[in-house]
Amino acid sequence: MDKPEYPGWVLWVLQRTCPPHLLEEIEGDLLQRFKRDSSKFGTKKARWRFMVYGLSFLRPGILLRNKFSFQLISLSMIINYITIAFRNFNRQRAYTLLNIIGLALGMTASTLIFQYVKYEASFDKFHSRASDIYRIQYNGWQNGQLNFESAVAVPAAPAALKNNFPEVEAFTRFLPIGGVISYDAPGEDPVVFREERMQFADTSLFNVFDFRLLKGNERTCLKGVNKVIIAENVANKYFGSGDPIGKQLTLHRGDASVFEVTGVFANVPENSHIKFDFLVSYEIINAWTENESETSWNWYDFYSFVLLKPGTDVKSLQAKWDAYLAKTRAEEWNKQNRKQEFILRPLTDIHLYSNLLYETSPQDLRDGDAVYAVSVVAVFILLIAWINYINLATARSFKRANEVGVRKVVGAAKGQLIGQFLTESFLLNISAALVALLLVRLLWTPFCELTGWQIPLDYMLAGEFWLMVSMLFVIGALLSGFYPAIVLSSFKPVVVLKGKLIKSSAGNYLRKGLVVFQFAASVFLISGSLIVYDQLEFMKNKDLGIDINDTLVIEGPSVTDSLYASKYKSFKTEVLRIPGVKGITASTSIPGEENYWTTGLQRINGGPEGANVVTTMGMDYDYVPQFNIAIKAGRNFSEAFHDEKSILINEALSKELEFTTPDQAIGEMVRHGRDTVEIVGVLANYHQMSLRAKVIPHAYRLRTASSYFCVKVETNDYKDLIARLEVPWKSFFPGNPIDYFFLDQFFDRQYDRDNRFSEVFTIFTVLAIIIASMGLVGLASFMAIQRTREIGIRKVLGSSVPNVILLLSKGFMQPVAVAILLALPLCWWIMSQWLQSFPYHTEVNPVVFLISGMLVTLIAFISVTSQTLKAAFTKPAETLKYE
């Protein structure tokens, strides 16, 4: 026989889809036509036509003729399944409601959490080539020790990378600035704002990133000095509806500089790790620094990004780059006994995994582990809800044993019974999913407000969202429906119809095992959130070594002139006259703000080789006493000495400079930048930043600083005080907006995200335990009903109410006890690990476990007894009278 030339699979498809009584002639006609076609058009075309004709038989006019065979039956079966399911739901409304609520809560919580995780994971991914973009991390080594890991690098590094490695397509740099911006419209009041979201940048940023320019030319808008491009919302703020292009903005920062607006870009998306409203042409900074901002290998203030060619092996590029640096920079490094590392870090990892010095907006960064920990909570909650369904459904199997038996005797196949029970689980799950959708929509905004998570509502419209909800629903329905369906459908009719009690010890163990899991998860979550809370309280209450209470901070004037020092002195005198003001001090930085001023520091005699790069702060005589910082050795700056050539250091720096005691440091000479200065005092370590960061080596110089004025106050009437402060402010520093805040609030802002994390953790913990106890309530009530007669007999025979309660509760309290015993060590271990990630942390407090263990036991006991109590109090006569 010759091989068929036609595509046989077409017939295979038809055989499975076409009505049998029509199949033969259809096939015949197709084959006949194929013969004709192949003689007419050749085999190739004939095969193609065979396929087209064959597949076009899959049309309703043909397929629907199938219904006489089997579809009709299955359709009516499905309708029957649904009818029966609804009868069942109706018969046990409380149980159905319990299930739907539990499932709906679980779905709602997990949907919200998954959306949140999706949002956090979406950071910086809106750039079309996000996965090819890398930020250069700068690691500074001193004397063979890692000195710092910084998010900002030196400006020469990305340029060198681009010029020497063909894998690099483009690079771009940002240098942050801040200051007061004003728009002086002719004939109108000037529009003045303090702006922090400002960067120097050049047009290469459009080669690397997808930030969109709405007006202006992408290639030329930042060419030349004194050009600025601004965000849409800023354009509205300054210019209203007018066209911003060509308008002049003035930056007041020391001297005033005037910029011409040459472009407007779309607002930087919320899920960008770097945010800016103003981009000022990079050429200005080149002009100001005599090109240092292009060539410097020391000045590290630049966020540097490179775009690699697609498919670049980053590891091998990094290795080549390291070798290149070692070769070309070695001479420089050896002079100072240091080493520089420039590491390529993926852009998309910054938001969740980067925690370096000088991050662009550190308060917006997230801890990836914490984010994923929340999604683990979501999974826990879902599992707990599904387990409820499984447990309740199998526990109820007794009730339906007779039904199953009769159905089987009448002729139901196992598959049909499974179909019946799966239908019930699908119906329950779909109702829960609908309720959950409603809840998600209603709770979206309050949830975002409560948690401080910004999840765009558009996510609800995305296909992905619906896919996820349907997945939750289908997985839930199958997962929770399958086991009960199999258990229930496997009853032997002879046994159940005889009225024998089904005692499946395997099922019982499984149920108990699942309860153990539910409560282990609850105990874990409770202890976990307590420990998180503990650590937060520890951080917030630990003595910082500096007194930041009752301090009002005024942001220093940006518009200053050469007379600033004397003006400040007069301003200070005026301020000190205001009742309620205890003191005022000017400094370049305040607690809670990272110090950007870094300078090389080296001992003249002895000490480590090479200069250490040390963060430095400028301050006046009053800073140390006003903030109540302890002096370990020596003295504070004093007007009695000529302290322009003096320096204060902290203990950490004293240790790093290899002084064995702080006292040894006093009187030693060091080179600080270009100055040779004497150490006159050693300050105790205090926390400049939150307790998430280690105390770093720090130096202090005497300056008449203009960044911040810290006013120590003692009053209840802040409104009045601020009004009084404004008077001298306006007279000495005209043209400057007065911006002020309280230092303790500013400092505690660093804990915002931790607080929120703790709150969220607590909310979901509560939710998890509510759902878990709902399941327990259901189980207990069911068992109580089941054992009504047994209880009746026991009571007749002399059992007391407490005895009965104990008996009924025992079965439930055992798994809870096991859960506690399992969860506590695990929690101890994991949370200790978590605590280790903090440089300053509490120890795991055993009381936490006592509390969570007792709490869970109590909740479980209440859930169980609320149900068993009724059974225990029922008079035996009522339950036994039918016997």
């Binding site: 002639e25 015949g28 006609d29 006949q32 036509r33 076009s56 043909i62 003729r65």
Partner: protein, 108 residues
């Protein structure tokens, strides 16, 4: 007889069945339509139409002989029923009536 109307394609297929007599089955009808009317026809469309006409009672069918070129499959031979013939005739008469309403073209 109810007021059943036939679609254009249905009428065409019905007419073909009447014309082809003992040789009226899916593939043959398709071929005839293609060769006579120069019109591309999908085999499955013809089949669906045949089934529909059978449902309406205008056609009846029986399985005919098998041939080698059909891979041993039998044909389903269709014949027009009386009601099918009546409908066809009624439609033709209606057409003729309508044609008569068109004024005769006069060539000058």
């Amino acid at each position: 007889m109810g007021k059943e109307f036939l679609g254009e394609f249905e009428e065409l297929v019905l007419t073909m069945v009447a014309a082809l007599q003992e040789d009226a089955y899916g593939a043959a009808i398709t071929e005839e339509i293609e060769s006579r009317l120069k019109r591309d026809v999908n085999l499955s469309a013809v089949h669906v139409t045949l089934y529909r006409l059978e449902d309406k009672g205008y056609l009846k069918s029986k399985l005919g002989g098998e041939t080698k070129e059909r891979g041993g499959r039998r044909k389903r031979i269709y014949t027009v029923t009386n009601s099918g013939m009546a409908t066809l005739r009624a439609m033709k008469e209606a057409r003729v009536e309508l044609w008569k309403m068109i004024p005769q073209l006069k060539f000058v």
